[in-house]
């Protein structure tokens, strides 16, 4: 969760540039740069055995320990790589006597999904979502729901090019109450369902993430949330039916959504040439956005089908 400016922050013991030493295992970690902070703790760039790593630290020690539990159990299903790899966990006792708990994990380098799609083109959005849907399926099958799925918690890693999640703070056992969420992505906030951890909860958040990328911002729910969502969907081009099904909980599993996405992408293969002509127009008219671009490529596809039918 992004830090609310309205909330008082208690983490004055920690700042970039300092080094901290673990109480139990004695590892020393430099806090090189703050990567982000949320309702539960801050994440810093650090170094471990000469390699970059990420360190999450908080005085909300129960929450941090529970995140470690999640990362540990994810490791067990990591034949496929799910989430960042856990490297170390320890306590830190500050000079002021306050006790913190931290863990060190793999630092996943890459760009934000919205930046990536802006730079590389809208056709990357469904492709990247496809990979994430596969990971979500593994996660759900292991009995977990990601929970706090949002743009800020996703990174497009370079090698391999894949959309990966970087913060498991909201990850909750299926059937329990979602631990951590962000209003815009939360179906409870939109009046579209409960806050129970179910696969459909993640798929709603994923669809909202896609809509945020397409719109270029988070929109307010307004007086009539459902109408707002409907309106937002109109800009989603050929992704619209899939996102609509995800928002209304029509996909019982990630696999079901993935299959629809796959079908769509395979269909699209040929008119890619049409889509390629679009980016210059997009660049000159930034505001037109991805939605229009998707619309154009699906228009191209329809033309192609008509051509075949002749």
């Amino acid at each position: 969760m992004t830090e609310s400016p309205n909330m008082k922050s208690s983490a004055t013991d920690l700042r970039s540039g300092m080094r901290l030493t673990g109480k139990w295992h004695g590892g020393t970690y430099p806090l090189l740069r703050k990567l982000g902070s949320g309702a539960i703790g801050s994440v810093y760039l650090t170094e471990r055995n000469g390699a970059q790593a990420a360190l999450k630290i908080s005085d909300k020690r129960t929450s941090i320990t529970m995140e470690v539990n999640v990362l540990q159990s994810l490791k067990k299903v990591q034949g496929h790589f799910l989430g960042p790899c856990l490297l170390e966990t320890d306590d830190y006792s500050s000079p002021s006597g306050k006790l913190y708990t931290f863990y060190v994990m793999e630092y996943i380098q890459g760009s934000r999904l919205d930046d990536y799609v802006k730079k590389k083109g809208p056709e990357w959005l469904p492709v990247l979502l496809l990979g994430l849907l596969e990971d979500l399926d593994y996660l759900h099958q292991a009995g977990w729901v990601f929970g706090d799925l949002k743009l800020d918690n996703l990174v497009v890693s370079d090698n391999p090019i894949r959309l990966r999640w970087v913060d498991v703070g909201g990850t909750t056992q299926i059937g329990r109450a979602i631990k951590e969420y962000t209003e815009f992505y939360d179906r409870g906030h939109w009046g579209m369902g409960s806050r129970k951890a179910e696969p459909t909860y993640d798929l709603f958040a994923l669809a909202m993430t896609a809509l945020e990328v397409i719109h270029g911002n988070r929109f307010k729910k307004g007086e009539a949330p459902k109408v707002t969502l409907k309106k937002a969907l109109t800009r989603a081009g050929h992704l619209r039916p899939i996102l609509e099904k995800a928002l209304t909980g029509k996909y019982p599993t990630s696999v079901a959504m993935k299959q629809d996405m796959m079908k769509l992408l395979m269909k699209q293969k040929v008119p890619a040439a049409v889509a390629k002509q679009v980016p210059p127009a997009r660049r000159s008219k930034r505001k037109a956005g991805i939605g229009e671009c998707l619309l154009l490529s699906s228009y191209g596809f329809v033309c192609y089908v008509l051509y075949l039918l002749q």
Partner: protein, 246 residues
Amino acid sequence: MKPSTLKQILLLTDGCSNRGEDPSAVAALAYAQHITVNVIGILEEGQTEQSLSLAEVENIAKAGGGVSQLIYKQALTETVQMVTKQAMTQTIEGVVNQELKQILGKGNTLDDLPPEKRGDVLEVVEEISETANLEVLILVDTSASMHHKLPVVKEALIDLSISMNARQGQNKFVIFGFPGKRDAAVKIMDWTERLENVSSVFPKLATGGVTPTGPALREALHEFSRQSLQRSKANDRISEYEEFGN
């Protein structure tokens, strides 16, 4: 070990108490009866933390074994559910710590376990907070200055019930406003599982001038004892039936 029902008072206020006994003393009394008191102080736009006596908000929560937070009204929704959940965890951890001391001897609290071992214990804490029953008495300051904040309070309470009802345990909420016309506080919505219909009661709130936080907390405390009295009567009835059946 499993605390069957967690009891909390959630106090939402924007001012200092100015009438009656010391609210912290009443909060301590509540805590002695295993009722946690949480306090959320709602700041006015442009108001600094000093103007809403941070000390009083903190002291009440400290005496009541609960959590306190000072915020601007925009952050109320996320804060209300965060404070409620945090207080639950805190209470359960307290119970677990006591058990640990009994099992492992003095000086063995969660902090004395390395993080790897702590994880297993906290798994239990989480399990309990997911399944325990929860009773929350929401005590809303309805003095004049709160008037324009009440729509936000309403939103936040509806959201709280969405969050808590996603748990496996049962929830019950009751809402009191203070000051009342004659009493320090009045019940404005009776015990219920869902707060979705809270909209209907909020416009009715008459807003008064004084802030008798201490007496209002005492009124809240009475409500809990009234309720458990009713429950024990109900239980008596059930056991009577059982005897009858035998």
